[in-house]
Symmetry: C2
Subunit: 227 residues, 2 copies
Amino acid sequence: MKSEKISEFTTGRLSIYLRCLNQLAQEGTETISSQGLADRFNLNSAQIRKDLAYFGEFGVRGVGYDTEGLRQHLTEILGLNRRHRVGIIGAGNLGLALANYKNWEASSFNVVALFDNDRARIGKTSLTQGHAGNNPHGVKIYDVREFPTLARELELEMVALAVPRDTAQAALDMVIAAGIKAVLNFAPAQLEAPDDVKVKTVDLTISLESLSYFLAQPQSEGESDKS
Amino acid sequence: MKSEKISEFTTGRLSIYLRCLNQLAQEGTETISSQGLADRFNLNSAQIRKDLAYFGEFGVRGVGYDTEGLRQHLTEILGLNRRHRVGIIGAGNLGLALANYKNWEASSFNVVALFDNDRARIGKTSLTQGHAGNNPHGVKIYDVREFPTLARELELEMVALAVPRDTAQAALDMVIAAGIKAVLNFAPAQLEAPDDVKVKTVDLTISLESLSYFLAQPQSEGESDKS
């Protein structure tokens, strides 16, 4: 198992800073100090300065950060200045839940296709198959055997794997063979990929572990948060 | 919107260290230095020392950490030395996917009940309703109106909200009224809770943002990882 690199922790925090800045921009706040940002959103001001310094000089001493400028910089650094086309392998409950996830609408990601090997699902959409969720249009479910062709035709850049553990590596191999370089894996499996492909495994139990910590050490913190 | 506190970033890293130590213990590695841990799992050794020092002195200079001792310490700190009983509100695609998520088996969490307001779903299980997934037993779907009673009878400690954005706050209010102190929220909504209740909102788009960063800055890192 390879594990988190620090740079990945950092990009996770940049995502959070960007959400804060988007909210400040909406509210019309033009400048904010690292301390102001920390106080407002329960962050750590030293960590903010360190993280942002890594990507260049964004702030002006005594004035703070230019909200809109920093927002645009972070959007560019994170590659969110254009929409990415995403495919999902697996149209079971998880794949359908992902396809119908309401947050995509406001995000830089566009889920354009689902793939499955179940004939009963192929040809339907994420709305006709299973529960409708919140996606007003629905995402079409294709035969997974068409993936190599459709990945190019649909110009997919990222793929989410929502398949059982036993088939995850085979699905990943197919995705890599089609030239995809960024994969989000939801299967609880340790997957092998070449160095030029980024595979991020999402472990849903980790989110519960921070809640468990809170129950074990309830004095530590009590605020709601976004992560 | 309130956002991540540093202590939550830290608990996230502790979860990752624990996964690494579990693997080392399985392999029979008795001691490991922070540098050894960092090299093996692509972590940052200074960060490891800082994070662990916060919870007391675990290492011996020149020898490193006692793998089994540190593993037990982290398990206790994170409150994972016993299983937590979890309920899920919402038996749509996401709720069913969570209930059938294979990783629970090896985790400290036990999903014991689903709740929904849809008569077509109530009384079924996560296996008879929707796609079977990997859970060999299935989780029963109860009428959400029974939640206040069943939360106590089933001794629920944590609840996952897998409901539409518009009903998330009402669901959370019901959960809090039943005395639950730890809630994992999957709805893209900003929820209000009292200080003694921990609400962790999981934003699935954040995981994709680190992939987007990799595509935008492909030289930055290329390894598979667990997060």
